[in-house]
Point group: C2
């Protein structure tokens, strides 16, 4: 391919980064105005910052759209100061992923009728970089040339019951690694998850996608007519380069909350999957963070100074504050400066209940 063609292709690539999650499972680090994606859970910068760094080589910087909540605009700008303000798109209310994918597709289509976009949650762990870049290149190429909706399938390494699964085996074409998707499966029961793992034609649904902006809008028109009408209304409110925020807010208010998976992917006949070459985790709770951080011989994970006496398999997250553990096992110990969590790691999902209980305890300012 000539260099000029390559450069033209590169210029057509966009990324939409979904940074609207409100996550309560990382309390006390996470707050209503500082959700998981803005926390430095994996590296030294926020997960959103890491996500943006991850696509630097494959997506032109000015072609990155970050969609987040209105109440998070300032926190996003603070967490990722290198992000130009015009790249931030704010929802007054969250309406799951279908609405924001449609909105982003409209904005991208207005910039380039041949725009092809990758959709990435801002709060996933992906390594190594080169493998990720290869998968994105592959997915964008398939999406562009085959005019299909492409998902990234993760090869399961355990019978996870917390993820959706994709069933795929037939190759889409001879010139790429993409597979035709047979079906999407919701979070399975434990025995079903075990069967999926053994079968080898099942993949974890990563929630990452690639498609041409025009193709995903066509599919929304075919399978989600109410959302399509709403998007048409928004498009009529375009003021030059962007749709007027007031129109977005008004239309959003009337939308149902539905994921792009439910609204389109599970219904469309034009769905393909690229098996991911990278390692992936959506780190859903403090428990999962332990796998990311340095671990001592007794399985205690931390980036902070820890003295562990007769203590095993604990996670310590204190932003630098020294911690001593004596005779404890399987705990998450988290300090945010203004609050402390001590939680059994196998009950890390229950941290949501702590957040729910804050108001009644007179600690609503820690939400």
């Amino acid at each position: 391919m000539a260099n000029s063609t390559k450069a033209r292709l590169h210029r057509r690539r966009y990324a939409m980064v979904m940074a609207g999650g409100s996550g309560t499972r990382f309390w006390p680090w996470s707050r209503s105005d500082l959700p998981k994606q803005l926390l430095p859970l994996a590296g030294r910068v926020s997960m959103l910052g890491e996500t943006l760094a991850r696509i630097r080589n494959v997506i032109p910087r000015r072609n990155v759209l970050v969609v987040t909540g209105k109440h998070l605009r300032r926190a996003v700008a603070r967490a990722v100061p290198e992000l130009p303000p015009e790249s931030i798109f704010c929802e007054a209310v969250g309406r799951n992923t279908a609405a924001c994918v449609g909105w982003a597709a409209l904005e991208i289509l207005a910039r380039d009728p041949d725009g092809v976009m990758v959709v990435l949650p801002a709060d996933h762990i992906v390594t190594p970089l080169a493998a990720f870049e290869r998968s994105v290149e592959e997915a964008l190429a398939v999406a562009d040339t085959q005019r299909v909706l492409v998902t990234f399938g993760i090869k399961p390494t355990s019978p996870e019951t917390g993820y959706g699964y994709i069933h795929a085996r037939e190759r889409l074409g001879s010139r790429n690694g993409a597979l035709r998707v047979e079906a999407f499966h919701e979070k399975p029961s434990a025995p079903r998850a075990k069967r999926f793992l053994r079968d080898r034609n099942f993949y974890w649904n990563s929630g990452m996608f690639a498609w041409r902006a025009d193709v995903v809008l066509e599919e929304i028109h075919s399978h989600a007519p109410r959302l399509a009408r709403a998007l048409d209304e928004m498009e009529r409110a375009r003021r030059g380069k962007r749709i007027a925020q007031s129109a977005v807010d008004r239309v959003y208010a009337g939308l149902e909350s539905i994921s792009i998976d439910h609204a389109v992917m599970e219904k469309s006949a034009r769905v393909a999957m690229v098996p991911a070459h990278f390692e992936w985790s959506d780190i859903g709770s403090w428990d999962a963070v332990a796998d990311l951080w340095p671990r001592d011989a007794d399985g205690n994970s931390s980036r902070d100074p820890v003295i562990a006496l007769g203590s095993k398999n604990n996670l310590v997250a204190t932003r630098g504050k020294p911690v001593a553990l004596v005779g404890v096992e399987g705990l998450a110990v988290v300090d945010s400066g203004d609050a402390i969590l001590v939680c059994r790691r196998d009950r890390a999902q229950d941290v949501r209940s702590v957040v729910s209980a804050l108001d009644a305890a007179g600690l609503g300012d820690l939400k």
Copy 2:
């Protein structure tokens, strides 16, 4: 008794409060320059402050001597600002209780040849106040009129193996509640402690005493001749109201470390015991603090805002910082602002080992 006689008796009363302990078991609250007695473990003020408040009605304020370590002078003055500087006596090196009891007796004898003193550790819990005052009055009266060394015996409520025991049954006289002491017993084995508890003539040795200054010095001369010679040397260095600090420091350097119990009480024939009317605890570790603080229905003790989900019998000590507990049991969770301890309560004694490990962990400034 005529009021003037009563007042004369009152003026002869002295208290020596021992505030030299270095305690490492309350880390991270306690530090080498902020030991247990300077911490607000029981109430809102330091344990030393509470000890001084406790004797306010029975000992004239100017007759209180606080003996502490030289390195603690400033911390003591900060913890108890109401204490006049001339009431603080500092040891350059600690030499257990025999040496400082002797020194204090010399200083009291110089002020009043009929001085009678109560000796109190600064880090004990004693309630209620009226019962304590009654016991002190009784002990001082017996010490003064009978010219004996009086200990306070605590009626055991459990077969404690961590305390020394006093065996006493015969009454000393008909006009007071004091008993003649038959023997002192070191910390017993568990079966022995159970026997002591059943016997009813055994008492916990509280480490609190009362005696005339001249009587305790006589007994030191009889049973601890080396200490007696050292005290004589110190007395020769008296400059007006006080013995010169330089002489105290020099003499102390050559002294052996020995408790007043070993040096004198266990050898003297002039020993009596007053059964205490008060509740007493020497709260030896974080575990014991749980008994002092407000407790929720699940046995979680704290003075701080705590959200406890499926959590039982924990102690939280965070100086006001909110804590959430999820699925944990029998833990002590302690925050000092610059460090956190998470410790199984039944291993609270091992907190000393944490302090020993600080240097190797590069955290020596937290000692």
